[in-house]
Symmetry: C2
Subunit: 195 residues, 2 copies
DNA sequence: ACAGGAGTAGACCGATCTGTCTACTATGCG
DNA sequence: CGCATAGTAGACAGATCGGTCTACTCCTGT
């Protein structure tokens, strides 16, 4: 990846994430990044392709961050707690590499490009699927019954997305903690059923 | 409320909801609604005030719909099931008055006006609080212990928002059903602890 | 009768948008 | 050397944006 290209993507993400895609013009990205307009259109065919590159950039950054956080947790229920502890750090701006919290970038972009067959919307969908897969692999270390693996993964994804929404729309800085409590309660219930 | 004013609000909502606020211009709303520009600026000081009125409109419509659906359910666990059955109908376009599903309008607007001190963002926040209060009153009919009322209300709100996100971003038409199963499982766990 | 409020149609304004283009520079490679 | 590549600065084009304004019509209440 070219130096200028990366610079554009990073600057564009920062602006898109805090103001929204439609609210940020090409010229603002250019002046903020100090890159010439011709260079932008050399690397990208247009704004949509830039947004697409920004989505891929954030997808990688976020995925890598979450994966490393989950890898740190010891296998077992701590994986579940670790997921929501990570979210808690994110919501409360304790993760520099994710930038100050403004909700989930992919939910935000989906809101602006709402049609399901829109390319950008589909990229957002794929990100969510990748993260869900990451969570699924954690749940699989929990020695639940196969049917419960599916159900509990679904529950964790629901609670995670719910927490993101609460934290962003309502500014509920405790959203991740609440979700954690609920998730652990569910896990407890799952175990007691089995024993 | 004047006839033309209502017409503007309804048309604006339809367009904002399916395309996003920034993506829809004043002129599109005017030509779609067949109202003159001067009339719009007679009723509203500007676009922001129109958006604000649209938010209030949707808040009332949504709140009334959900309340009537919850009132229909028989008191007890059926209230919880009824909540997610209502969401399921919404997600799958079986509720005409809510228009075809494009996620939660308030989450979408929050994404476009991301700063917490933005007026429109705050209106979205208030809507969520109103709905949360509605859910809380249902939970209070469940004869749980006081501490559990809070926790279970939080859990239901998290699952509800999570289901909305899954349904919109990932197009998961079963999101409400999954959330319902999780909620009932939680409720079951709560009861078994108490008995 | 008539004043004023609500409405229409649409020209117009300045700003801003995405995207193109010209002219020029620096660098690295065969 | 010669030439393509990546870059800068910025004028420019055409469209669209939110918002103002003029000129006119219709209706209603005093």
């Amino acid at each position: 990846m070219s130096d200028k290209r990366l610079q554009l993507v990073i600057t564009a993400f920062k602006l898109f994430y805090s103001k929204g895609v439609h609210a940020v013009g090409i010229n603002e990205i250019l002046s903020e990044s100090g890159v010439a307009k011709k260079t932008l259109y050399h690397h990208f065919s247009g704004k949509e392709e830039l947004v697409s590159a920004v989505l891929e950039f954030r997808d990688q950054r976020f995925h890598n961050w979450l994966k490393s956080r989950l890898d740190q947790a010891t296998p077992g229920p701590d994986k579940v707690g670790g997921l929501f502890d990570a979210l808690d750090d994110w919501f409360n701006d304790r993760v520099d590499e994710l930038l100050p919290f403004h909700g989930c970038f992919f939910i935000n972009v989906s809101a602006e490009f709402s049609e399901p067959n829109n390319l950008l919307h589909q990229l957002c969908c794929r990100h969510k699927e990748r993260v869900a897969q990451l969570i699924r692999t954690q749940v699989e270390t929990l020695d639940l019954e196969p049917v419960e693996v599916n159900a509990f993964t679904n529950a964790l994804c629901l609670l995670k997305e719910g927490a993101v929404s609460l934290a962003h729309v309502q500014g509920d800085r405790l959203a991740a903690i609440k979700a954690k409590a609920t998730a652990l309660q569910l896990l407890q219930g799952n175990k007691s059923v089995r024993s």
